[in-house]
């Protein structure tokens, strides 16, 4: 039997094709492959809509992988926020593979999306603030992402911003969140000594001490790295208040970082509105430049008025 290259590729895909018989979902094509599983575009026959189904790979029979995937589904299921992908369903397929069903997200990853944004900081920072909102929401519900990076942020065609890939997220219990008791956490094979995250975005304590040592401030570090990526990628020199924000978020010592995402978020929002930021003491020139930027419309109108008055005076006399 002669098999063309395309046929070999399709057969390779068929080998990993999930057995969705007995479910209401019909796989259509592969959307992407990650470390933990493959995401398929699928049709929900009952509701007549398209969904995304994330499924553990065919040869990955390790129970830890299945547990990690279901853990991600449970984490997402407890977080309802416009910046997070809603989970519709989860379970185990007849072939033994764990899966969960979520909203089909159409868009591009942030690392690819920035190319379409242009060099101005405004649109980049507004996306960053949306990421912060979603992460702050998760923190408020006791969930730490632990693998934030531009590749895990999806930007949709209508500007929607979604934080993806919660496979290594850590769920803190109530006492730890409020600091009133013994710290315990649930995760999946992510205890002390297990390093999970991405170099360049992973906080030093996470890289050194394992995933179990990661808390909200580790996510603050990753957000700082994302902010640095967004600003550096614009090709412009980073304004000093913004570089101070990045520096604060990326402090080696977690104690020296922003105490939480809302504080970081407030500083970036302040910069965006040409307000002073908490981590940078501006000099007179910087203050003048900022005020000029903030009140540029009013300054322009006053200047236009003065020029007109001068012109009228000269004409009259």
């Amino acid at each position: 039997m002669k098999l063309a290259d395309a046929a070999v590729e399709r057969l390779q895909e068929a080998l990993d094709w999930p057995d969705l018989s007995g479910t209401r979902y019909e796989p259509v094509d592969v959307l992407g492959r990650g470390g933990m599983g493959t995401v398929y575009r699928a049709r929900d026959r009952e509701l007549g809509r398209e969904v995304a189904v994330k499924i553990v790979r065919g040869t990955d029979t390790a129970p830890a992988t299945a547990e990690r995937l279901l853990h991600e589904a449970r984490v997402l299921a407890r977080l309802e926020h416009p910046g997070l992908v809603p989970v519709h369903d989860a379970g185990v397929l007849p072939d033994g593979r764990a899966y969960y069903v979520m909203r089909l997200v159409r868009g591009t990853c942030l690392d690819e999306h920035v190319a379409a944004l242009g060099p101005a900081p405004g649109p980049r920072l507004r996306i960053f603030l949306r990421v912060c909102e979603a992460v702050a929401f998760a923190h408020a519900h006791g969930v730490v992402h632990r693998d934030l990076k531009p590749q895990n942020v999806m930007v949709g065609p209508f500007g929607e911003v979604l934080v993806m890939d919660w496979g290594v997220a850590r769920v803190l219990d109530f006492e730890e969140r409020t600091g009133t008791g013994t710290a315990t956490a649930t995760g999946t094979g992510t205890g002390a000594g297990t390093v999970m995250g991405t170099p360049g975005y992973m906080a030093p304590e996470q890289a050194a001490g394992g995933a179990a040592s990661a808390d909200q401030r580790s996510d603050v570090y990753a957000l700082g790295a994302i902010l640095r990526f967004l600003c550096a990628d614009s090709g412009r020199r980073m304004p000093r208040p913004l570089s101070a924000i990045v520096e604060k978020a990326l402090a080696e010592d977690p104690e020296r970082r922003y105490a939480g995402v809302p504080v970081l978020q407030a500083d970036v929002a302040a910069f965006l509105s040409a307000e002073p930021v908490s981590v940078h003491r501006e000099n007179v020139l910087e203050r003048l430049a900022r005020l000029l930027d903030k009140y540029r419309t009013a300054v322009f109108l006053v200047l236009a008025y003065l020029v007109m008055r001068m012109a009228l005076l000269l004409w009259a006399g």
Partner: protein, 238 residues
Amino acid sequence: MFPLTRHSVLLSIASPEEPQRRRGLEVLAEAYWRPVYKYLRLRWGAAAEEAEDLTQGFFARALEKGFFAQYDPQRARFRTWLRTCLDGFVSNERAAARRLKRGGGAALLPLDFAEAEAELAGSAAWPEADVEERFRREWVRALFAGAVAELQEECRAAGKGVRFALFERYDLDPPPEGRPTYAQLAGDFALPVTQVTNHLSAVRRDFRRLVLARLRAATGSEDEFRAEARDLLGGMPP
């Protein structure tokens, strides 16, 4: 058809019993002869006739000298090791500048070189940097082709021709305008959509079983089998 499992092929090749040795060699040859032939044609630049002789000669020599039995899974993948043996064999044969007359002058294995030659039509020589990957690709192609043929035979014998027909339309050879939807297949085959889903799931499961059985027979160790299986299923981490 494919009773040898769990790398027993390599044990068979080392067997003192000639029939068992020969059976092991046949199984290995089925998985590797096409990549070997194409490698000789496109990497060594052998003419078709010489490549046929060298292919037959290589497997005949392997049976005669039992050198596959010397394979050490700690040192390399079986596929890579086999190619190294092949390089040594061809160098020696060419240095001796003699025609191959292995197996008493008759072909040892019933190999369809004409079909392999037809597959080569228009193929360029393999560049040095790509040899490993090209050889792997040909090996995967041979592995899949064997599994598809076996699947077709299994479906036919079990009176489940419709399963193979669905597999053919959806996975193996979809129309040029693109894959049909399950609903279209249901319409074409006069089946409920749920049955199309079930048939396709079952036939893919069977295909996977056959591929993995062949893979297990064509690899040198359990670790190698697992590594190759991971590669085939998308290069996921262990």
